[in-house]
């Protein structure tokens, strides 16, 4: 594989990285909104059933993409854990 080919592939990877970060940001915004609505309604932050559903869905999607489900699952578990520290106010 010639050097220019690698350069082009790297550009694609960079673009995808950018999109990934933007998508994670958009996901966080939605989650923050849900957590805030739950807080106002006096509901618990996390819902085990919902987390289980999400994990099942992303495991299946990972397998379809030929990805290691555990890798993707670990990422989502980090997302879920972040919800425990919402909101940021400490007082």
């Amino acid at each position: 594989m010639s050097r220019p080919d690698i350069e082009e592939l790297r550009r694609n990877v960079d673009q995808i990285d950018q999109q990934l970060v933007e998508l994670i940001g958009a996901r966080m915004q939605h989650v923050d909104q849900i957590l805030a609505l739950k807080c106002l309604a006096g509901l618990p932050r996390r819902c085990e059933e919902r987390e289980r559903e999400i994990l099942e869905r992303i495991r299946a999607a990972s397998r379809q993409q030929g990805l290691d489900p555990e890798l993707v699952e670990a990422l989502f578990k980090r997302f879920f854990n972040q919800a425990s520290s919402y909101p940021k106010a400490t007082a």
Binding site: Q33, L37, L40, P87, K88, A89, A91
Partner: protein, 159 residues
């Protein structure tokens, strides 16, 4: 894209709401009791002077148009956010920092959703004549007093 003139007054109020929402989040995170109390006061004042009427105007004149355009999910979410904010601002005894931050978050997200999704959709759904009529209706509503906008929470929650 430039905002349709009919929606400009509501967009202007959105700017105020965004400012209040961010101030609320900052105050909540500061942990300073005085700032937290001030931010709550500002939100209660804004609710009485502007927000209650603004919510009502959207519910009466904008959301039905969006529903007709098939935007049921968007309208349901906007209504749920209205109801949550209204309920919170009606409970002056619960003024913790945590709820203040949550209220700031819901308000900020709500305004963004309206500016980025609801208003552009309305501009696409309505022709020039309908937009002008909508502008007149909105102006007529904002001339009335707040008492006429008694908020019907039960109607909200069944929607």
């Amino acid at each position: 894209m430039k905002r349709a003139p009919a929606l400009v007054p509501l967009s202007r109020e959105h700017n105020t709401a965004l400012w209040l929402a961010r101030a609320a989040k900052r105050a909540a995170r500061s942990g300073n009791a005085e700032r937290i109390q001030q931010a709550w006061q500002q939100l209660h004042d804004a609710w009485r002077s502007e927000m209650a009427r603004h919510f009502r105007a959207e519910e009466l004149l904008l959301f039905p148009v969006l529903r007709e355009g098939g935007e049921h999910e968007l309208v349901d979410l906007l209504l749920r956010e209205h109801a949550a904010m209204h309920r919170t601002l009606e409970q002056p005894e619960l003024q913790e920092a945590e709820r203040l931050e949550a209220l700031g978050q819901v308000l900020e997200g709500h305004v963004r959703r309206e500016e980025r999704e609801a208003f552009p959709r309305l501009e696409a759904l309505l022709d020039q004549g309908s937009l002008t009529r909508l502008g007149h209706e909105l102006a007529r509503l904002s001339d009335r007093t707040l008492e006429e906008y008694t908020y019907d929470r039960e109607a909200q929650e069944t929607t």
